[in-house]
Symmetry: C2
Subunit: 480 residues, 2 copies
């Protein structure tokens, strides 16, 4: 390493270093999420960062394919490349010839691959969690990174709605423990489809023809409705009008929304939805994943009665092309920001890898946004910043060497201790303690060595006391 | 995701999935290492997986450069590529034009970059640990992966030998806690250089000229000596003879080794080494990093007297071109395998990124090998396999719904509990508990619902008992 060109240190755009305090705070969040996942019986798995591009490509739409980070094959990768592709500078075509692997884009497609690949070694229903970075070659911007963590829990191979109930409780528990006030909104994709279907039928009747196919009609309608939070009824109506829809055919929806908002009891809401569902029965053939929507409503409405931050919201439309059953979205009540957790149920997750037909249901925490909210609201508790409890400082190497066995004894008693390693001015040593947020300093000088009475300074209050080592030991072990 | 081509699930060669039991065991190892690191005041940092190739290239020798995984630039990456390079199919030259980023190769170069880039935000001496995967496009073989974890603790910016002492205690502590019998060998690169220097002077005297430059001579000598463990004195002599060295000039070394082996006390060993050092003083100008070798010997020999698995070994030569001071290597006493931890001190770590002159010293645990040893010797304790403590099973959905609030109460009391989600045969539910290693099952049937007495089955002993829910709660919370 002797003749290395000096390089100005830099990072690829959209990636980050984390300072010790940041890692400690992030670990605090991860720790709470993990402990709740484990309380509900989820087990951690890991998959490699590198996946074959054959696994990843085509799973995230065309835009997603372009956002995949692709890894150059090793060695003389151009050897067998096609000459015409090279001379045409056809980047897209060449990629297939020179890059076989890429960085994972999310944790869901790797999960599907994993479940099929290890199906004989897994216990079903398979409850796994996975906390790991993923990569997307998106344009970086505030709060959006190219390398960021996902934090997912999923259940594969069970159609029971109990999973939905438990996942909702997990969302509730985690944010309660993090001390973040949230609203957990949930919906069922079939309800959206049924509303779309009622509208579609009305449009057909009144116009005899719409220019859109049924599926596209559903999709356009749901996309527009999803914006109701941001643009209100007026905005949604405008959007529908622009698309050429007949607004009078939407009256039923506004009436429905109004009645739902006015309903006071769960039973009332339940009855209103049932009515809507019945109205949509004619010609509706969208295949639901599991037991049936009425069970969903009955079960979930009932179970969530006790959780006042869980709200059914039939305009919620997240992950349009992906989820087929229940969907969730969690937002902070105190900080305006996008969703900080989300999830849903998807049919046939494993089908793309030739696995047997299995439904999956899962949630994902947006740790980067949760971090920002906790910073903004100052929600990190002091002890999230795991740091050294005591620093021993000294006036000479002899003092330092006297301290070493004492330090070791404290460490054996499970106290996190440091001994300042170098000969340095007292001021510098104290500065080290301050900068690292170490709450106690023990000063070792010649007097202390002779008397056996050590001076302990509380760095926050500035007070100091003399203690024998035995007193010190019980003082710090009691403080754990 | 409707029209996806089905793909047979596979992984890139040299990468791995981890099953839940494997992750739990790996986390057990990481957990112990982390807790010891933190007891000694090290703080965790994170750096991105993606680094600029300008950061990585040239730091690991030419072979290392070839083993770097390079990431294709996004978008139309061929647009500005040189036409001649393309038509010549010059892979090497093209790489520089189409790949700006790569995957980190180790955690040390990123640390150097990090320290320089964030020097104003860090507290020095900077004690950090970092546990994360790294990538090398090596040929995969048994026990060697392309994506594997490193687990490092380093101190940057302190020349004190106390760091060496503490790192040695950390090595000792971690393996004690993991229950692995090890030998921790240590050496100082300057001792090797001085032995090489004595030999070099003798060769010069006897032959008036050796064909090798001084540095190459040192290097060849040390490489040959490093093999003494594997090939013995005979083997080393043969190697020296093949290189054209005059074996009679090596007599001093064998005498030295013999005397060291026969020495009984630390004081005796200390005297023998001092003698060797004195003999090497003429013309020796290799710059030591810090305080001086005699302090190294005095300090370390003395401090390690109490640790009987720490051995000074002056033939240890690890990391020839990298380390400049103390070096360590740890091997298992029970399983024949390469080193399972190692480390050393290196001068000027941060120089390559234009940082001010700072010395670094650190150790690294080989977690993959530690895992293999612990498996082979069955050293993982039962409770390393963090799993659900209790599974509630049931005969009907009504039974299941009765169980749900009980399950939630246990979870609130911090017990890890699962409720089997689906309607299924009792046998299938029991199989689930067995396969997941869940030690207790609570059976809920109509009788139990009526009587309030629940049947708890101990899955290991097969015994079962009836308990009220209150009894159950105290039973499981006591078992934490």
């Amino acid at each position: 390493m002797s003749e290395i060109k000096k390089v100005k240190p830099s990072l690829p755009s959209g990636t980050r270093d984390f300072l010790p305090q940041e890692v400690a705070k992030r670990n605090y969040i991860f720790g709470i999420i993990k402990s709740v996942f484990e309380q509900y019986g989820f087990q951690q798995i890991e998959t490699p960062v590198l996946e074959n591009l054959s696994t990843l490509t085509g799973k995230y739409g065309e835009e997603g394919d372009q956002l995949l980070f692709k890894v150059l094959n090793s060695g003389d990768y151009l050897k067998d490349a096609d000459a015409a592709t090279l001379s045409n500078k056809d980047s897209k075509k060449l990629t297939a010839q020179i890059a076989e692997r890429g960085l994972r884009y999310d944790l869901t497609v790797p999960l599907a691959r994993y479940v099929v690949q290890h199906q004989n070694d897994l216990v079903f229903p398979f409850k796994r969690y996975h906390i790991a970075p993923v990569w997307r070659a998106d344009r970086p911007q505030k709060g959006r990174y190219r390398e960021f963590y996902q934090c997912d829990a999923d259940i594969i191979g069970s159609n029971s709605l109990l999973n939905e109930v438990e996942l909702t409780y997990i969302l509730h528990e985690v944010f309660k423990k993090l001390n973040i006030n949230v609203t957990i909104r949930f919906n069922h994709r079939e309800i959206l489809m049924r509303i779309a279907h009622i509208f579609y039928k009305k449009e057909l009747e009144s116009k005899s023809d719409t220019s859109l196919s049924k599926d596209d009609f559903y999709s356009e309608f749901i996309k527009a409705l999803d914006k109701i939070d941001k643009v209100g009824v007026e905005g949604v109506n405008k959007e529908f009008a622009d698309k050429g829809f007949d607004l009078s055919n939407l009256e039923f929806l506004w009436t429905f929304i109004k009645r739902m908002n006015e309903a006071k009891t769960v039973a009332e809401k339940y009855a209103i939805i049932k009515e809507l569902l019945n109205a949509s029965n004619v010609d509706f053939d969208w295949k639901a994943v599991y037991a049936g929507l009425d069970i969903f409503i009955e079960d979930l409405f009932e179970k969530f009665e006790s959780l006042d931050n869980v709200k059914f919201d039939f305009t919620l439309a997240r992950g349009l092309d992906y989820y087929t059953g229940t969907i969730w979205e969690v937002v902070s009540n105190d900080v305006k920001m996008g969703s900080i957790a989300a999830g849903g149920r998807y049919a046939n997750l494993t089908e793309m890898f030739g696995g047997r037909d299995m439904s999956g249901v899962g949630i994902s925490f947006g740790v980067e946004r949760i971090y920002d909210i906790m910073e903004e609201l100052k929600l990190f508790p002091q002890d999230a910043l795991k740091t050294t409890k005591v620093l021993f400082v000294h006036f000479s190497e002899a003092n330092r060497d006297f301290a070493f066995p004492l330090v070791q004894q404290l460490r054996e008693a499970n106290v996190s201790v440091e001994l300042y390693p170098d000969k340095a001015k007292m001021e510098k040593q104290m500065k080290y303690a301050n900068a690292k947020g170490i709450p106690y300093v023990v000063v070792i000088g010649d007097n202390e060595m002779q008397s056996g009475k050590l001076t302990v300074k509380d760095m926050r209050s500035g007070t100091q006391e003399e203690k024998t080592f035995a007193e010190l030991l019980s003082f710090f072990t009691a403080k754990q």
